[in-house]
Amino acid sequence: MANQDFRICSESGLKVYKNAETLIKWNVIAALATLAVGGLMALLVALTRWPSVHLLGLTEYYRFLTAHGVDALLAWILFFEMALVYFASTVVLGTRFRGVVVGWISFALMLIGGALINVIIIMGRADVMFTSYAPLKADPLYYLGVILFAVGALIGFIMFFVNVVYAKRDGGFKRSLPLGSFGLAAASIIGVLTLAHGAGIFIPAFLWSLDFIGYIDPSAYRLVFWGLGHSSQQINVCAMVAVWYMTSAFVVGGKPVNEKLSRTAFVLYILFINLASEHHLLVDPVLSTWHKIVNTSYMMHLAVLASMIHAFAIPASIEVALRKQGFRSGLFEWFKKAPWGNPAFAAVALSILLFGFLGGITGVIFGTEQFNIIRHNTFAITGHFHGTVVAGTTIAFMGFTYLLIPCIFKRQLIWKGFAQIQPYLYAVGVAMLSIGMMSAGAFGVPRRHYDITFSGAPFSFTFDPAIDMFMSMMGVGALLAVAGGVLFILIGFGSMIWGKEVK
């Protein structure tokens, strides 16, 4: 391999091959673009659910809610995860991207699939929500779009393993993958299972929409769909935790106190976290109690144990690293002297805090059968997954973007002052949004519902007046989060275009 094919990143000292760099760049660009679309949809949806504003009409609300789910929950996250798995399997290991043409095919499939889904939704031919539960039927092109996107992502995850095999052969690592790459190996394993479930349900749904299949069992659809729908969030959890470890290493030189324990926690994710898909079926009368208990109460808590391990291991690695740098006075000097002005570090710290206390704890509570029967399909569930996917994963990915811009795009950040406050602004907004949703849900406010005043309904129902405060808290939080999101998009794209070149 000729030397001119790679460069040494001046920020991290990592070896960056040109072919990997270009693929990572375009996946990050696609991720930011889809986040912008998903964020716009989020604003419109939140301003409709806020009873004081109630912005959109009925049809537009459900249409934009479908688009919000697809763009914010699938497209932004998976495009960024493609960038992460390519980064972890090439740049971190100091090797080139093998089969780069396949990598571009993966990207093209995801781009075409994602665009097709959005166009069909906006044309009003797929008002089926993110879940698209049978017997709700969308245009065949909607299902085709999802299949193309999922196949593209599946190819990307497979390319991770291909790159790792070649990296080991080329001496990129000897025996064990570096911990960040190992975390993304776990994410890729979960990704393979998840996207196989996606194919298992969306290919029949596609054939059903073309009338080649006469009937899809709604119970079977729900079961297999959540093997995709929830497991895709488990890819996010693994990728997010890997980002926590990598950011800790890059920014403060953090190393896990016990690396084997951290690896064991990732193995627990691989083996057991996907069983959490059962959460969505706990009030489903079709499945037996044994199926529900084994999947949620027994196996899933082994994955919760893994999260607890990470929750202690990463702050401990940061503390040890900062103490080694000389911040040893008292119990908390290291905490006070942590680089809070570094947006990557701040984002990870906020992500750990909010994921743990908003998304993680509520997920464990709502995932028990006894509590699920009370909270299922209330706004509390929406608050829970905004605590995981937005407050956890999205903030962590935003932080890692601030590291990728100098390392991969070779550009300095623009608006550094704004970049410093961006994670805090976004985190405060999302925390308010999530707490507002969960509190309103505790009073029985339903999720997804267009009009909780039930105007024009043949019966009347009035919620506790306290929900007005919580729904307003959700609305104000959404506005703050969107402001933080806009700032992130402007800083991200602005830095890629106008940022000073990093030598």
């Binding site: 064990s176 570096p178 960040g180 190996a185 979960i190 299972l193 990598m246 890059f250 037996s288």
Partner: protein, 54 residues
């Protein structure tokens, strides 16, 4: 960046297991597929149909 395992002694079995990402891939696919998907589909298929359903 991170440690990559530098000890020269015998490799513990658990470490060998964790280093084998293809074994982890196989287990990560098989365990949830059996416990969640196959078991769930088997239960759904064994629910008796209502007589009115053709």
């Amino acid at each position: 960046m991170e440690e990559t395992g530098k000890s020269t002694g015998p490799i513990p079995g658990w470490q060998k297991f964790m280093d084998n990402i293809f074994l982890l891939l196989a287990l990560g696919v098989v365990i949830p597929t059996l416990i969640y998907t196959v078991w769930g589909l088997w239960e759904i298929m064994n629910i008796p149909r209502l007589p009115i359903v053709p």
